[in-house]
C-alpha cells in the first residue's frame, strides 16, 4: 500500500499544526462558530447529538495493522472504546472532544493517517472495490489511480469551496462492489478496442433528496489525460453549480438541469485547454511509481485445496470466503453485522485482535467495504480454519456476507444531529427476525439499507429493500423502498407508500420478503423478482395489516 515520503509526512504534519492553531483561535474567540465550522469540517469534525464526531479517512478502504492498532488506541484514549465504519469506508468516532482533536490528528499522522477533506464541500475520500488487488475480475488494481486522485485533490486551491460535497469512486471490474454509479464522479478503468487501458468517466450520481445514477461523460480518457479530465469536470461544477439552494447544489442537479450533452460539451472545452497546458499530464513513470506501492504481496506457491472444517466453518465459507486470483489464497469477509449488534461498529478489542491476526497470518492489509464490513484480501486457504476460529472468538465470524442480515445502517438518530429517526434499532430488529441461517440462505442475496434521514448515508436508495426513517409529527416512521441497486445494474429504489411505525416496520419487511419467496421463479434473487413483478404484489402484502386494521 502507499507509503508516505517526506513530502506526504510534512503535509499532514503541517495540516495538524494548522488545525491546532484553528482550534486555539476558536477557543480564544478569534473565530466564530460560523467561521470555524467549515474549517473543522474539512478536518472531518462534526458536532453531533452527544459530542463531536471525528471522521478519519481510510483512503480506498485500505489499512495496515499498525493503523488498525492506532484506531484502537484512539478509541480507548479519546473515545468510548469503539468506532464505526461508514459507507464511504471511513472510520467515525462518536464521543470526541474538540480540545483533543489536534492530539488525535497528531497520533494519526504518526501512522500516515489524517482526516483531511472527509467532510465539507470539497472532494472527499476516493473509494474502490474492497477486493482490489486480490480479485481476478479486475482489469487492474484501481487503487493507484485512487491514490493519484487523492493527492491531486488534497487541498486543491480551486476546489475547496465547492457548492457541495464531491465523491469519487474508481471501478475496475464488471461486477461493481463500490456503488460506482452512485458517485458524483465515477471513474471506470476500461480497455478500448486496441487493448489500451484508459478510463470511462461519469458524472452526476448521488443520493439524498433527489437520487440520480451517474451519466456518461466520456467513454475513453487516455491514461495520461485523466487528471486533466477530472479537473475539467470539477471546474465546470464549481463555476456553474447553483449556490442559492443547498438542496440543489450537488453535481447531479447541474448535469440533469443542463443535460448530459451540454455537460459533456462544457467539460470537453475545459479538458482541451487543460490538456494543452500540459500541467496535469500523468506520465507513465508516475503511474508506475505509484503502482509499485500497490504491488501485491509475493504469493507463495500453495496447494489450492480449500480446507474443510466444522459445521460453523463450512457455513462461513459459503458466504464469507471469495475467490482469489492466486492459487492457494482466498478473500475473506469479516462481518461487522453480528445479529443484534450495531452494523459497522467495532470495539478496540476487536481492532487490536485483528491487527494481531493480520500479523500472525502474514496479511499486510485489511480492507473496509462500503457495506461496513472488513475484508482480508490475501488469506492463505490453509489458514482459513484458524482465522475463522479466531474471528469466532471475537464475534467477527457471522456467516452472513451478502445475506439479508448483512444490513447497511447509518448511525441515525441515536448519534447524528441530522437524523430524523433511529436506524440502528431497526437494523437490529430486522436482523433478529431473519437470524435463522437456513432461512437466510433460502432468501439468498437481499441487500437491506437503512438511512435515518434523507441524506442517505445508509444508502437506502440503493437497497434491494431500502428503509428511510422520517419524522412524522415527532414520531419516527419508516418508508420502504424496493428495487434499488448499488451494483453495476444501478437503479433507484421506488417508494412503496406511507411509512410504518418503528413497531410495524419489521413485520412489514417480513411480509415483503415472504412475498418474494412466494412469487420467485427459479434462480431469481429478490431484486430480480421485484423487477419482474413490480411493486404491486409487495405493496399489497406489506400493508395487509393496515388493511385488516382499517376494517
Amino acid at each position: 500500500m502507499y507509503r508516505y515520503d517526506e513530502f506526504d509526512a510534512k503535509f499532514v504534519k503541517e495540516r495538524v499544526a494548522q488545525f491546532r492553531d484553528q482550534v486555539e483561535r476558536r477557543l480564544a474567540g478569534e473565530l466564530t462558530e460560523d467561521e470555524f465550522k467549515p474549517l473543522r469540517l474539512m478536518n472531518g469534525l462534526y458536532l453531533q447529538l452527544h459530542a463531536y464526531m471525528l471522521r478519519i479517512a481510510v483512503p480506498y478502504g485500505t489499512l495496515n495493522s499498525r493503523q488498525m492498532r492506532m484506531l484502537a488506541h484512539i478509541a480507548r484514549k479519546y473515545d468510548k472504546g469503539y468506532g464505526h465504519f461508514t459507507t464511504r469506508t471511513n472510520m467515525q468516532f462518536h464521543w470526541i472532544k474538540l480540545v483533543d482533536v489536534p492530539d488525535i490528528l497528531e497520533d494519526l499522522a504518526s501512522v500516515e493517517m489524517h482526516c483531511i477533506q472527509t467532510s465539507g464541500n470539497c472532494i472527499r475520500n476516493v473509494t474502490a472495490d474492497h477486493f482490489a488487488g486480490a480479485t481476478d475480475e479486475e482489469i487492474e488494481d484501481p487503487r493507484p489511480l485512487c491514490e493519484i486522485i487523492r493527492q491531486w485533490s488534497s487541498l486543491h486551491p480551486e476546489f475547496v469551496f465547492l457548492a457541495r460535497k464531491f465523491k469519487i469512486a474508481v471501478g475496475a471490474t464488471p461486477h461493481d462492489r463500490a456503488a460506482l454509479l452512485w458517485h458524483d464522479m465515477p471513474v471506470e478503468i476500461v480497455k478500448n478496442e486496441a487493448g489500451e487501458v484508459g478510463y470511462r468517466v461519469y458524472a452526476g450520481g448521488g443520493m439524498g433528496r433527489t437520487p440520480y445514477i451517474a451519466l456518461l461523460m466520456k467513454d475513453f480518457v487516455k491514461r495520461e489525460d485523466i487528471l486533466a479530465y477530472l479537473e475539467a469536470v470539477l471546474r465546470v461544477y464549481n463555476q456553474d453549480s447553483r449556490r442559492d439552494n443547498i438542496h440543489k447544489q450537488r453535481i447531479k442537479i447541474l448535469v440533469n438541469a443542463i443535460g448530459q450533452e451540454e455537460m459533456q460539451r462544457r467539460v470537453e472545452r475545459e479538458f482541451e485547454e487543460i490538456k494543452a497546458s500540459g500541467s496535469l499530464q500523468l506520465p507513465q513513470e508516475e503511474l508506475d511509481r505509484i503502482r509499485a506501492y500497490f504491488a501485491p504481496p509475493k504469493f507463495e506457491t500453495l496447494d489450492d485445496e480449500m480446507p474443510v472444517g466444522s459445521y460453523d466453518f463450512e457455513n462461513w465459507k459459503k458466504t464469507n470466503v471469495h475467490k482469489h486470483r492466486a492459487p492457494g489464497y482466498a478473500i475473506a469477509t469479516i462481518s461487522l453485522k453480528a445479529i443484534g449488534q450495531t452494523p459497522g461498529d467495532i470495539s478496540h478489542v476487536q481492532m487490536d485482535a485483528l491487527a494481531d491476526l493480520m500479523d500472525q497470518f502474514g496479511i499486510d492489509e485489511i480492507r473496509v467495504s462500503h457495506e461496513q464490513n472488513l475484508v482480508l484480501p490475501h488469506a492463505r486457504k490453509r489458514d482459513l480454519p484458524a482465522i475463522f476460529a479466531r474471528l469466532q472468538k471475537l464475534d467477527l465470524a457471522t456467516p452472513n456476507s451478502g445475506l439479508i442480515t448483512d444490513i447497511i445502517a447509518c448511525p441515525g438518530l441515536d448519534y447524528c444531529d441530522l437524523a430524523n429517526a433511529r436506524s440502528i434499532p431497526i437494523a437490529k430488529d430486522i436482523a433478529k427476525r431473519f437470524e435463522n441461517l437456513d432461512r437466510q440462505h433460502d432468501i439468498g442475496e437481499l441487500k437491506i439499507k437503512i438511512s435515518g434521514c434523507i441524506n442517505a448515508c445508509g444508502h437506502h436508495h440503493a437497497g434491494h429493500i431500502g428503509i428511510l426513517g422520517v419524522d412524522k409529527k415527532g414520531v419516527e416512521y419508516y418508508q420502504i423502498l424496493l428495487g434499488g441497486s448499488g451494483a453495476e445494474d444501478a437503479s433507484v429504489g421506488n417508494i412503496m407508500g406511507p411509512g410504518f411505525s418503528a413497531h410495524d416496520i419489521g413485520p412489514a419487511v417480513e411480509r415483503v420478503v415472504d412475498t418474494y419467496v412466494k412469487l420467485r421463479q427459479s434462480g431469481e434473487r429478490f431484486l430480480d423478482t421485484y423487477r419482474r413483478v413490480g411493486m404491486e404484489p409487495f405493496k399489497n402484502m406489506a400493508y395487509l395489516e393496515q388493511m385488516y386494521a382499517a376494517h
Binding site: R26, L47, H50, A51, Y52, K80, I96, K97, H503
Partner: protein, 110 residues
C-alpha cells in the same frame, strides 16, 4: 408558525467537548432533570438571550429552546431527538448520560 409550546427547556452543546448541557438558573447543568422549565414565553426568551453571552464567551454553541411536557409528575422531552440527547444512544444504554447511576432511564425502546 407553530404556537409557543407550553413548557420549554433551554439546551446547548459545550464547545470544548460537545457535551449536551441544560440551562439552570444562569449556569449550564449536565443533566436534563436539573434543567429550568419555562412555562412562560418571556422567561424562556430571556434565558435564551442570556445564553448568548455564553456563546460569545466560548462556553457553548447553538443554544435553543425545546418543548417538554409533564407526565405523572415528571418533566419529559417530547421529541425523540431530545430524549436521546438527554439520555444517550438508545442502542448503547451503557454510554452517555443514561449510564450515570443518578440518571433516570428514559424509555426509548421501539
Amino acid at each position: 408558525m407553530a404556537a409557543t409550546p407550553a413548557l420549554q427547556v433551554l439546551t446547548a452543546n459545550r464547545l470544548r467537548d460537545g457535551a449536551v448541557v441544560y440551562w439552570q438558573a444562569g449556569v449550564w447543568a449536565d443533566e436534563f432533570k436539573d434543567a429550568d422549565v419555562f412555562n412562560d414565553k418571556a422567561a424562556a426568551d430571556a434565558a435564551l438571550a442570556a445564553a448568548m453571552v455564553f456563546v460569545k464567551d466560548r462556553v457553548v454553541v447553538n443554544p435553543y429552546l425545546f418543548a417538554v411536557r409533564e407526565e405523572a409528575g415528571q418533566i419529559r422531552a417530547i421529541e425523540q431527538r431530545e430524549i436521546i440527547r438527554g439520555a444517550g444512544p438508545s442502542v448503547r444504554r451503557d454510554l452517555g448520560k443514561q449510564a450515570k447511576p443518578s440518571m433516570e432511564a428514559f424509555d426509548v425502546s421501539i
